[in-house]
Symmetry: C2
Subunit: 142 residues, 2 copies
DNA sequence: ACTGCTTTCTTGACTCATTCAAGAAAGCGG
DNA sequence: CCGCTTTCTTGAATGAGTCAAGAAAGCAGT
């Protein structure tokens, strides 16, 4: 059980002020992996009916910058958030319905992190997105 | 020299009608790799001052769907286009200035295309984005 | 607890990339 | 050259996300 107190601790550990919107946003992201901002606003309002969308946007930014949540945004998609962080996992995205699922990298802990020619860039992250068709959409077609 | 006639051939080969906007857009994408739509509109208007932005949007969509150009869109960036296609290369993006550079995949021809647990998805592409700091921004900091 | 400073939240307007829609123009097979 | 279809022009609309000003809440120090 991830309780509200654990989220509070996480916020303090990250040097963020503890506010009800932030706790609710953190909980919403934990409960709804890959949810977009709108869905998160909806989930947060179940606990705090009066929160403004701006508070959610601000919280998501603060949490993202603190590294408590991760923002992902496949092409043509709005921003989505997840709480699984620091384990170098990646995503499969369905071209048809946009569903996202987690995948662990097949190549090891830090996949592809060494590019052949890095053009002098200091690389700190490799983000991998697999594109394909999810089982549901594959069935719907056939 | 990639001439206008070659672009015309490419369009015909892809079963697309040959129009001046499309040729100009194709040329612009070839000349300005990773340019965003606005930059492409600007480049196209050097040859065809009167093209509407909509014509450019439409052309880019048609060319993308036909596979003549590739659309890339790192998080927090607008859509960008490139003409290098079909060679499974990836991108490094500067977190500071947004510059994009090409990188060949270190892992081989079709990198990471086999995920450990694919959740039943039929995967057809693996898109890799390396995040880091480009040489210019690294210098500016220090 | 109370004070005062700082950060965050509310409210509401605004931006801007992208899309939609209707009619005019251009491509192209016959 | 005709006629059908696709594409282009023009102009308005959409919508995720941001900005800004004042009100409210968190929190360190007393």
């Amino acid at each position: 059980m991830t309780s509200s107190q654990q989220f509070e601790q996480a916020l303090r550990a990250a040097d963020l002020r503890v506010t009800r919107p932030r706790i609710a946003v953190l909980a919403a992201v934990h409960e709804h992996p890959h949810a977009d901002t709108d869905a998160i606003i909806g989930a947060v309002r179940e606990a705090l009916p009066e929160v403004s969308h701006q508070a959610v946007y601000d919280s998501l930014r603060a949490l993202t910058e603190a590294g408590l949540v991760r923002r992902i945004q496949p092409s043509r998609s709005v921003a989505r958030y997840e709480a699984r962080i620091g384990d170098n996992h990646h995503h499969v995205v369905c071209r048809s319905c946009g569903t996202i699922a987690d995948v662990d990298c097949a190549v090891g802990e830090v996949p592809c992190l060494t590019a052949e020619n890095d053009h002098g860039f200091v690389i700190d992250e490799a983000e991998v997105i697999y594109w394909g068709i999810c089982p549901d959409c594959a069935h719907a077609d056939s």
